[in-house]
């Protein structure tokens, strides 16, 4: 039996919704009892990566596209958690951010990608033909305690 839960939600492009979506991610992890024994840590991580992914999407949305909102898709099973965040902006070059380099602590900006890469197993950013971009975050879930 397929035990994957799919959550699809669209929010306006505004940072006032960060807490809502972060909490939603925590609730999915908690209610599905994903990663038993480590799920408080996973809850915090998912809240964090959702927040960072949304801030990226909102920051890169152009003024004319703000009313299209930001779409979030969460796929959760006992084996894997996948988050997709769709934006309609001009996008950014993920390859500019060198793998695994911790930003200079005295930088005021630029920690978001590092944080997502640290907390997830993979981070990809893809253009969708003629219709925006998607940030894909994946995490394999350890079934052992």
């Amino acid at each position: 039996m397929n035990n994957t839960v799919l959550v699809d939600i669209t929010i306006p492009s505004h940072t006032r919704y960060l807490g809502l979506i972060g909490k939603l991610g925590e609730t999915v992890v908690s209610e599905l009892n994903l990663c038993p024994g480590k799920h408080e840590c996973l809850c915090q991580s998912i809240n964090m990566v959702l927040t960072e992914a949304l801030v990226n999407a909102i920051t890169h949305v152009t003024t004319t596209d703000q009313d299209k909102g930001v779409q979030i898709h969460i796929s959760a099973s006992n084996e894997e958690l996948t988050i997709r965040v769709y934006d309609h902006g001009k996008g950014f070059n993920l390859n500019r951010f060198t793998e695994n380099d911790c930003p200079d602590p005295l930088q005021e900006h630029g920690r978001g990608i590092f944080i997502m890469r640290s907390l997830m197993d993979s981070v990809e950013y893809q253009k969708i033909n003629g219709n925006g971009n998607v940030l894909i975050l994946r995490k394999k879930l350890d079934r052992s305690n």
Partner: protein, 111 residues
């Protein structure tokens, strides 16, 4: 953003009264820190006891305050970091930048 400010001698204590310090309110904290520095405050304690979540924008606002204080030969100390906030500081190595205390009182006495 909700915060309470108390003066303890020459040191100002800011109690951040928010569950989240993130991109939605980090600029307000940054602006408040700037305002206090421009009024002549040099040494600040920021108490984060109520803050259970911080993102990269929240971290950036604190770093901005730290740099502002340093430029004025002042200081910013942090107190009462909750577990997620502590984790983010360690992940981004900011625990090596800031002086962090268990309580605002300890930060004021420097213990």
């Amino acid at each position: 953003m909700n915060f309470k400010t108390d003066a303890s001698g020459k040191i100002m204590v800011i109690y951040v009264r928010e569950d989240r310090l993130d991109a939605n309110n980090a600029e307000e904290l940054k602006a408040e820190l700037n305002r206090l520095f421009e009024l002549g405050t040099k040494d600040l304690v920021i108490d984060l006891n109520d803050v259970h979540f911080i993102d990269s924008s929240g971290l950036g606002a604190l770093v901005s305050g730290f740099k502002n204080a340093s430029a004025r030969q002042g200081s910013i100390k942090l107190s009462a970091l909750q577990s997620q906030v502590k984790s983010m500081f360690e992940l981004t190595r900011l625990h090596r930048v800031f002086d962090i205390y268990q309580t605002a009182d300890e930060a004021l006495t420097g213990e």
